[in-house]
């Protein structure tokens, strides 16, 4: 079943002369894990925000085409209503803390209070997400006293507690150290395994290759391609679109080593190892 349907989506920010999104069309099935890649200002953040209705409702500007979430058209819904179906996590761990709650526990409750969840269910949901994101041990701390990785997991927990079917993440680990980003990627992966549809904009291609079912390549607001990581990263024109393939793919491309029986190059460490093993190096 298609969870997200995008048809001819166009968008222009106020004050801008150029289209940030230019005629995008694609579908996402329930439970899929989609990576969005592209150089800076290719439109990744804008696309993420178009899926949760921040584009156009927050920014205004000029909008064309349609985005459907579970059959509901984003343009005709309020952000609050869409947020019950699609959750979003942003880049900066600090600015997405509400700044009005004294503990992690209360911070997670913020969204639930807003959407009118009864107390007993609220508590059950918070306990569940604290466990899911492994931040139980910091639940009574001030949100601003957490490490970056913990803060991002708190942000994800706050969103997941609202029980969306779809989670959109805009470069959630770009400001974290390797340990922190590993924590976050593992959390995202476990959510994906639970059947939540995941949309992830990301610069770390090795991670995209490892986790995503399909990858959407953007350039200058246009969709270049949407396909499996193997197909996308095997494209010959990636560099022209401002993207470098995972290091494992680059090495295999140089050596001209493809995955057995396909025209694709390996994209992960394990794939590269298996095709290169036994070669005389």
């Amino acid at each position: 079943m298609n969870k997200i349907v995008v048809e001819g989506l166009k968008y222009k920010y106020p004050l801008s002369d150029t289209l940030a999104l230019d005629d995008l069309s694609f579908q996402v099935k329930e439970g899929e894990f989609i990576g969005i890649i592209g150089k800076n200002s290719a439109g990744k953040s804008t696309l993420c925000q178009a899926l949760v209705g921040l584009v156009p409702h927050f920014y205004k500007g000029a909008y064309g085409g349609k985005v459907f979430i579970d059959g509901l058209e984003v343009k005709n819904q309020t952000i609050a209503d869409i947020s019950l179906k699609v959750g979003m996590v942003f880049q900066n761990p600090f600015t997405q803390v509400t700044g009005s709650k004294m503990t992690v526990y209360e911070e997670i409750a913020f969204g639930l209070e807003n959407i009118g969840i009864p107390r007993s269910e609220m508590i059950a949901r918070i306990d569940y997400v604290l466990d899911l994101l492994k931040i139980e041990q910091v639940k009574d701390q001030n949100p601003f006293d957490l490490s970056g990785g913990q803060m991002q997991r708190m942000a994800i927990a706050s969103i997941i507690a609202m029980k969306p079917d779809i989670l959109v993440l805009d470069e959630p680990t770009s400001q974290l150290d390797p340990a922190g980003s590993e924590e976050v990627f593992q959390a995202i992966q476990s959510l994906s395994k639970q059947g939540i549809t995941i949309i992830l904009a990301e610069h770390k291609m090795e991670k995209v290759a490892l986790y995503c079912h399909r990858v959407l390549l953007l350039d200058d607001g246009k969709m270049v391609d949407i396909n499996t990581p193997g197909k996308i990263f095997s494209r010959g024109d990636l560099e022209q679109h401002g993207v470098a393939a995972p290091v494992y793919t680059r090495v295999c491309k140089e050596l001209g080593v493809r995955k057995a029986g396909t025209s694709e190059f390996p994209v992960t460490l394990a794939e590269a190892e298996s095709v290169l093993r036994g070669r005389k190096i």
């Binding site: 289209l19 156009p56 409702h57 000029a62 909008y63």
Partner: protein, 200 residues
């Protein structure tokens, strides 16, 4: 584009989160003034900026909330919420009518706002402190005038005037300077009433 009304009460989320920032800026301005031992308060830069960016309603709200919060650290500030509201309102109106659009106009606006603040604060000073402001220079003038005339009102008005007018003038000039340096996308953020155009 239709000119937006400045009196919309349905504040956007961006305009709303501007208010705590305004209060924070007021606080830091005040702190820096104390640090530099200036004989001025400089504690309304945030309110003035908020009014310029978000209009009189946001300005007034920022002023009110500013003093409510200060009330938690110093209960007397509470009383002067009325003055802060007046500052926010007047700046917002002047700005959106185009009366603060150049340095020259900003000076006039600063003087007007100083006068407004004085007129609103004086009755509060009289009711609460018997007419004083708590500012050394102003209170010295208050004592001098009280000794030489028999009008508490005049003394109090002048006490407030000599403190407020230079303070608000400087605040408006600093705020205008900062406003002029803001990038366009930030200024755009707080505009509320624009419509979504269609590209279909």
């Amino acid at each position: 584009m239709k000119k937006q009304s400045m009196w919309s009460l349905r504040l956007s989320t961006a305009a709303l989160v501007l208010i705590p920032v305004a209060v924070g800026v007021n606080y830091i301005g005040k702190l820096l003034a104390q640090l530099l031992k200036l004989p001025l308060w400089l504690d309304s830069i945030g309110t003035v900026l908020a009014a310029m960016l978000g209009g009189p309603v946001v300005g007034a709200l920022a002023g009110a909330i500013n003093n409510i919060i200060y009330g938690f650290t110093d209960p007397i500030s509470f009383v002067y919420a009325i003055t802060s509201v007046a500052i926010g309102l007047v700046v917002g109106i002047l700005f959106f009518k185009g009366y603060i659009s150049s340095w020259g106009k900003a000076i006039v606006a600063g003087l007007i706002i100083g006068l407004v603040a004085t007129v609103v604060s004086t009755p509060l000073n009289i009711g609460f402190w018997g007419g004083q402001t708590g500012n050394v220079w102003g209170d010295a003038l208050f004592a001098y005038i009280l000794a030489n005339t028999d009008s508490t009102w005049l003394a109090s008005l002048l006490d407030e005037l000599v403190v407020d007018v230079p303070d608000k003038l400087l605040v408006v000039l600093i705020s205008f300077g900062i406003f002029k340096g803001l990038p366009r996308n930030v200024v755009q953020l707080y505009k509320n009433n624009e419509k979504i155009e269609t590209l279909d």
